[in-house]
Symmetry: D2
């Protein structure tokens, strides 16, 4: 932590900061400039981070040098985390994993038609949600456990692991008893009780970025899961909220190389929720492959105009097949296979 | 809903939209302009909102005319909702209610010193949290039920109702058994399972705005609570996330008059979390009183430099007293008493 | 400047940074922590700010301690700047100055009716633009010099100084030869050639905040004007661009107390352009008075539904009168007279 | 335009809107729903757009159906605009054009070393600025005409056309007399007098997106140039301002496919200014190629640690060569050659 004193802070204020540091077993290095005195705090990271430095008289500002997340950082573990899910390796530098399926499970027929088609086109993991968080209480909220049973059947039929969202800490065990991968959605990225609950499961977790979360906050959310003992975390960039409303969200493509530097976890992109429009999915999916993501997750629906959730962004089965070809070409150009 | 067709959409596409509308018991009014055909959808709001119009061939864009929230709207109930909490009326046009206390309960002494001081300066409701959502898993997370017991004592001692945050649906009954008002924090505004749970309690709920939520989304979150049967909802503006980082958040003061138009619920402002710095609290509190809010909620701490949560923004006991005088003068200028 | 080295930066990298500092006549204080070495750079502010520190091997990040603006800062001049315009003092702690008039001058009748009414209700400075920056090239762009002549007449008739916007460096002398105060609009806050040109005029300048400018950038824009010799600068907060679209912009009310700390210049608020809707003007104007602004600038039009620019936000003459009464009451509550 | 009336708007208010429409030679189609009356305005786009609908009694909101830009739209011209600059075709579906060079021209040696290297690695257009817009008035502002003379020499020596920024309407003719392509920078995107001036030149114009401009506003800025007679406009996405500060800006990669739908102009990406960090340039450049951009513009410097402008983001000569290879592979994968 670097503590910048106010211009008019006197010796006593500087001494008080030093004393505070010493009281927590740390120490301070003082640099006096022409206009400002700056104190470098050295010692235990957590202890130093707990102190409300800017509440202390004479302190203008405290600038952290170290991040508050630790175990998920690239510093803690230099090599990439690779997560194997029923034989599919997520996070390997030469693989690009495509997750695809309906946004929500609506019926056996809808799920099975989609699963068969995406499998055939090259997807390796199935998606399909049983519980949906919806802005309006009057919207379709998912089929619940019945959907998980259908996904279980589809997994067997098409030999694909599946991922499903979990919304409520009380449902975590239920979803975890069916799904191969749990997903924490964008609205729940800062739902810490949910993060702790999935952190205690033996299943990998996709952690979507809150649509207004900084990378620091997102990695802290991952740290919550990691700290509970679950180290199999897949970060999913899905667009952030900005002033631009021409697309549903603004895909933060830069987050991919930044995360790869900051942390050792696999990074995926969700071009469907990012763009929110069918015609944007393929270009954004190609960009994700080119920028260095470990995979993508794509909404597909056999009849999007009847979809109960997010039909606007679902690819038709044939669109998905075409997208897979284009994405594969780009992935190959950067040294990965799909 | 207004459905704008693409420039090149033909008769068949228009007919398909009309047919879709009729299939859900609604109808369409067609206006043909020089460049675009526009279809006004008339009929049942929910049925029309469920259709993914932009997934239908030939549709360029669908613009909702009505909001998706209903019961919390000013249209549904023209008169203001006023919530009485142990004799304190929240939402009355001639009152300005000040909620104050520590961000988190840390000890009996800290709580009681603060409660006594804020009561004496004119606060009418006590705040103090037992469970804290923290960005980092290594930060102090609250004293839990022990804090609720201290708040219970303080309530009796100082004759003030209190509000406390709830984070986990599994804790709602516990918190509700102690607190006079429940609070859903900014990170949980879109935690729909939590909203439903507090919607089933017989206690008023403070619903803080998600720091990236639009007013529409915020009112939809309130609708979740209302729909479960709890109509005692207090909206709390606490700053939104923008590009400006000079303060912790950007207080959206405009949200207050906008919400007052859109909905019938009381609106408060939290100047402490909005500004995130002690010296900003009083000016923002005055602005809240002037703009027409029904009250404010303020962090106060006897020794902010030792606070375990958000010490930077806590007012000292004497600062709070001074702020109360200034805020009262402004409240009086707009016809309210504190 | 504080220079944080990468974790793996060795002695040589640290030595290179020190050498660079010495080569520009500065020096470096080194603090070695467990995970990072931090170097405090001491010496000439400008020389240190010019170096692209993060382009140097081994440097992770460079954090400025001092601001890049200087003359406009509160540190440079502790006392408030007060600007007298034909007897109206702008920036005095006991005055609240209301600027009002039409957004654009459209006709003699429109201008004179408005000027007479706002003068009578208590406005002390007239606004009315001759040149308008418009998003679309097909919108009304202002009457040009003819408008300035009308404003000149209105000034004499109603004994009010007037402010007018300037868009083009080539028009600065023309506008300056008529107006009492020049205005640089939000779209031109970073038009440095225009800032330099108004910096050479003997007239005060209203500098509106760019709708996406940080306070730092805004103060740097003021520094451009100051540096050319013009010290009469009035900062005007007019709303920033955020994700929230319920109002035209998000009024950053917090900017007022922050600017008052950071700089010595008068600060006004433009509630009309901030909210963009007639019914928001009065509440935002009251908030501006309460928060500590030195004044407001308000759009008024005798027949807003015929206005050529921004009719949605113009107050009717009678609305303005009512607003003045409410704003005056709030101003008095904070120790200012209008 | 679609005009949505307030719930309580009566017959008279609807009649007044219809009368207003008729007074400007247009007409209105009325649809009455259960809660709202909606009026579709049919007729002359500009005339309808000029009216401040929301200032009229009883009107809740006016939603434009058509865009305010016209000539730059894909509707106006379905085929792609291709701009030939000394034999380099910009905007052709099978080409990917790389513009590279120093951010600012600092010396003959710096410029020539860079130009030679980037030419050799495959860049086809040279960049190098003579006038630089800087946030701080104390930063290096460019060499002016001397830089243009050096660029002129470099063009001859290395057989590459060059692009240079123009800041001041008074300098447009000077820059235009040297450069092959003019550039309007991000801070000047809404400097309409500058846009008009470059609109009168016989040289292509790169129009960078304002870092807070919506796509609509950006296309309207292009329309300003087009309307003056200059149809050779290249749109350059360079990142927008959001809450995320881990990179300098947030590259809005989605803007590329959206612009391609909305307009017929070539679209480039500037990965250097978007990311602001050297290590982000190559991944973002690959993403730009994959998403369907017509080219990129990249900062390169032989010794970034001595650069006078933006050294943090400049590629070293050897980094650029490596980036070109990777970008070429991705471009080939999407059917383009560099």
């Amino acid at each position: 932590m670097i503590i910048v004193m106010k211009r008019d802070a006197g010796e006593a204020a500087v001494a008080a900061v030093i004393a505070k540091l010493e009281s927590i077993g740390s120490e301070g290095h003082v640099s006096k400039g022409q206009y400002r005195t700056v104190i470098g705090a050295l010692g235990d990271r957590e202890a130093i981070h707990q102190v409300p430095w800017e509440a202390i008289d004479g302190v203008e500002r405290a600038v952290p040098v170290l991040n508050s997340y630790k175990f998920v950082s690239r510093e803690f573990q230099p090599e990439d985390t690779v997560i194997e899910v029923r034989g599919v390796p997520i996070g390997r530098a030469d693989e690009f994993v495509v997750v695809a399926g309906p946004c929500a499970v609506e019926s056996r027929e809808q799920l099975f038609r989609t699963a068969e088609a995406v499998r055939c086109s090259g997807a390796r993991v199935l998606r399909g949600d049983a519980f949906k968080p919806r802005t309006s209480p009057y919207s379709f909220q998912g089929l619940g456990e019945a959907a998980l049973e259908l996904l279980d059947e589809a997994r067997a039929e098409f030999d694909m692991p599946f991922v499903a969202e979990v919304l409520d800490p009380r449902d975590v065990e239920l979803v975890s008893s069916y799904a191969d991968i749990l997903r924490v959605g964008t609205r729940n990225m800062s739902n810490y009780t949910l993060l702790q609950e999935v952190g205690r499961q033996p299943k990998p977790v996709q952690l979507k970025r809150g649509f207004t979360a900084t990378l620091q906050e997102w990695l802290n959310a991952a740290e919550y899961i990691f700290k509970e003992g679950n180290h199999q975390i897949i970060m999913v960039e899905r667009g952030i909220r900005t002033f631009e409303t021409a697309a549903r969200n603004t895909l933060d493509i830069t987050a991919v190389p930044l995360l790869k530097q900051m942390a050792h976890l696999p990074v995926m992109v969700d071009p469907s929720h990012a763009g929110g429009k069918r015609q944007l999915v393929a270009p954004l999916a190609r960009a994700a492959a080119a920028v260095g993501a470990d995979g993508i997750m794509v909404d597909v629906h056999p009849e999007p105009e009847t979809a109960l959730v997010d039909g606007e962004q679902a690819l038709l089965l044939e669109d998905f097949d075409e997208m897979m070809k284009a994405v594969t070409a780009v992935a190959v150009a950067v040294g990965r296979s799909t």
